[in-house]
Subunit: 199 residues, 2 copies
């Protein structure tokens, strides 16, 4: 597996440094047991009032028709690279609380928490996940009969890292580029907005 470690300013757990989002996937299936574990991890995420406002639609390359259907719910620029991943999924959010039908302001945030757990488990199993905002929610609703209170929110391409050298176009370059982030002083504040917390 090709690894793109984060160059951190402070030491953190290796599961956080090893996670990255590849454009190039290896032609190698994901074991059923591993796939199950990813969603089991998502299952145990925190959520407001334990609402668990997340659902997933999943397709593997072993079922070509289902795979094509899920692929067609991604925007074309994402289809171009995601079609190499052995597993595709859509993350679906439910916007209202079941118990009282009130809007759940943190529903998409909590879908992100579930994804965070899924990513942790994937990294532990030497799998990589590339999430996408570029999906076609209306098409997904039509193809999968997603009910009106829920909505496809993210796409996930899941698999093993491929060889950047084997990739067409600029995809390999993207996978070779170093990972970059804003420094802590630009987003962790104390006292007032913009004042670095000095961590």
């Amino acid at each position: 597996m090709s690894i793109k470690h984060a160059e951190t300013d402070h030491p953190i757990h290796e599961l956080a440094t090893r996670r990255w989002s590849p454009y190039v996937f290896a032609d190698r299936p994901v074991a059923r047991e591993d796939l199950t574990a990813l969603f089991e991890a998502a299952r145990w995420a925190a959520s407001s009032f334990n609402e668990q406002p997340w659902s997933y639609l999943v397709a593997t390359r072993e079922e070509p028709e289902e795979y094509e259907r899920l692929l067609s719910c991604l925007v074309e620029p994402n289809q171009a690279w995601a079609k190499a991943a052995p597993v595709l999924a859509l993350g679906v959010v439910t916007h209202r609380f079941k118990r009282n039908d009130k809007p759940n302001r943190v529903a998409t945030h909590d879908l992100g928490l579930a994804a965070g757990n899924l990513l942790l488990e994937a990294t532990a199993r030497e799998l990589l996940v590339h999430q996408m905002a570029g999906i076609l929610p209306d098409r997904a609703r039509e193809l999968y009969s997603i009910p009106s209170g829920s909505e496809a929110w993210t796409g996930l391409a899941i698999g093993h890292a491929g060889d950047p050298e084997s990739a067409d176009g600029g995809l390999g370059d993207r996978d070779r580029a170093p990972r970059t982030r804003k420094p802590l002083r630009e987003f962790v504040f104390s006292g007032r907005w913009g004042q670095a917390a000095g961590l």
Copy 2:
């Protein structure tokens, strides 16, 4: 540390099973180094176009005035238990992309991804985090001069687990209750909405 393991249906990484959200915190500070690592981990989360639409406002009990200010941004039922945590924070989301000022549909989702990384690091360091949707975003905007494009979205109480026996009212009972989740077949689908993926 009191531990509330998830009783999983399938084996997953212990960092996902050990995470839980306590109501009772121990009277013990969080080391500066640990606190720094939590936000360093959040820093390396994935985000759409690497926008990193998350920021944090943080206060520790070592600065009582700052701590009280942050505490006052939580709804009262949350203040009642969160005031025992040695560290409080607000998770702030920025709703539009910096590069083109267009709405970022996944901004709060990506704040959730950052929180997922923060939780991973916390669990690895035997810290616990209880996140809250119940905060007062307008009060936070006023007290911290949060600019109009950004918005306080979540609260975080951070610390070590306390002794449930020591807690007033029903808080200890909540910390003793087992963790529960929907089974996989109720939220991981294949082919169409509601059809279990059979993982």
